[in-house]
Amino acid sequence: MQQIIFFFIRNKNFLLFAVLFTISVALTVQTHNYHNDKFISSANFVTGGVYTFRNNITDYFNLGKENQQLLEENLLLRKKLDQFKEAVVFEKLDSTFLPNKYKYFTARVINNNYSKTKNQLTLDKGEKDSIKIDLGVISSKGIVGIVSDVSENYSTVQSILNTKSRINAKHKNSGHFGSLKWDTKDPNVAQLVDIPRLAELEKGDTIVTGGRSTIFPEGLLIGTVNDFHLDKDDNYYYVNVQLFNDMTALENVYLIENKEATEILELEKRVDDEEQ
């Protein structure tokens, strides 16, 4: 017994280190799983407060650019409004016209990183503003990511610049689907994989979101084809997509809620359960 106690006393630093190291590795591994409830997250009172404080100061530096972007967006919306006024009967829904099963919120980015392999953003809206996990996040130029965690006043977003991120996307001209990933190299270039070989791609083609997920509506802008080549098996294309969004300078973003998402997911789950 004495031996054991002496052993503990002699190695107390090592044991302390081992315990703490294990805890931190466990925390790390936990974050590698796709958003379960994270124990450590910047969507909490203290860090959210600090980041809001910083943003209140740094916001002023980008005001000019932000105004410009808002003006551009206003112009675009105004043009669309005119189009609607002119067209008396809507024969076909334009892909940019979104039916009202989607609900929109606005938020401000208070923390943004893009230099790591698993990047996250923090927004200044949370549960109190009815933000939920799995809402899509877009800016006026294109998609940004998916909400991964919420606290009362803040929420964190898994950026598309995250090696865990998989977003359903399609080639606008041909309609072929693939998924959008990120290879960590360049914050302005994402990769579209699993586009079948028979798709006719060309440099400069537009890539938009596909309608296969319950998170993003179909037809949101993502980027343009930068270059592409066939992958090892020669069956699918590997496409580098130049993003429309400048992911390094995000200020105002919109969150999209699909009001029918729960219904769709429940239905799919029920079908899955029945098949098993």
Binding site: K12, N13, F14, L16, F17, L20, F21, I23, S24, V25, A26, L27, T28, V29, Q30, T31, H32, K38, I40, S41, S42, N44, V46, T47, V50, Y51, R54, N111, N113, Y114, S115, K116, T117, K118, Q120, T122, T156, T184, D186, P187, T248
Partner: protein, 169 residues
């Protein structure tokens, strides 16, 4: 440890965390290089201080950075690791004499001091990036990040040391 040492270390801890999360994490030189100055706290912790306490404080320091960064526990793990390994590094950089409290980090030979800083910085960065990237596929990215961020951190730490040495003398 004297009373003044305790206060200096508490202030250093808080200032370094805020400096790191508000400024240094946003430098992103060439897209991904950031200096991790906050480990300055572990480097400058008094040589005669309690080792167990250092390991615990380092863990807390790393965890504070992790909470701000949303990075799980990568900084906490790396910090706990270098805090544990610090006595060994002290011994091989300053020789056995450090055990008799005859060495002051600020006044040691510049070469010995650089060995000490560089060893701990590279170990910290390696553990941190290894846990963050967490895949053998990106081993090249891991080594590249460790090297470049490490060099940047060492430069910033040496500058900080020079800056504050002047003031105290």
């Amino acid at each position: 440890m004297k009373n003044s040492d305790i206060i200096i270390n508490i202030v250093r801890f808080i200032v370094l965390v805020f400096l790191q999360v508000l400024m240094l994490n946003n430098i992103n030189l060439l897209g991904y290089i950031n200096p991790y100055l906050y480990i300055f706290f572990i480097l400058m912790y008094p040589l005669d201080g309690n080792k167990g306490l250092l390991i615990f404080l380092s863990f807390l320091l790393g965890l504070s950075i992790d909470i701000f960064e949303d990075s799980g526990g990568v900084h906490a793990a790396a910090c706990a690791f270098i805090a544990y390994i610090r006595p060994v590094v002290l011994k091989y950089s300053f020789g056995v004499s450090y055990e008799y409290n005859s060495v002051k980090i600020k006044k040691a030979d510049p070469m010995e001091r650089l060995t000490y800083i560089a060893s701990l910085v590279f170990m910290h960065h390696f553990v941190m990036f290894a846990l963050e990237i967490f895949s053998f596929k990106h081993i090249f990215l891991l080594l590249k990040s460790t090297l470049f961020s490490g060099v940047f951190t060492i430069i910033v730490i040496v500058c900080t040391m020079i800056l504050f040495n002047r003031k105290s003398t």
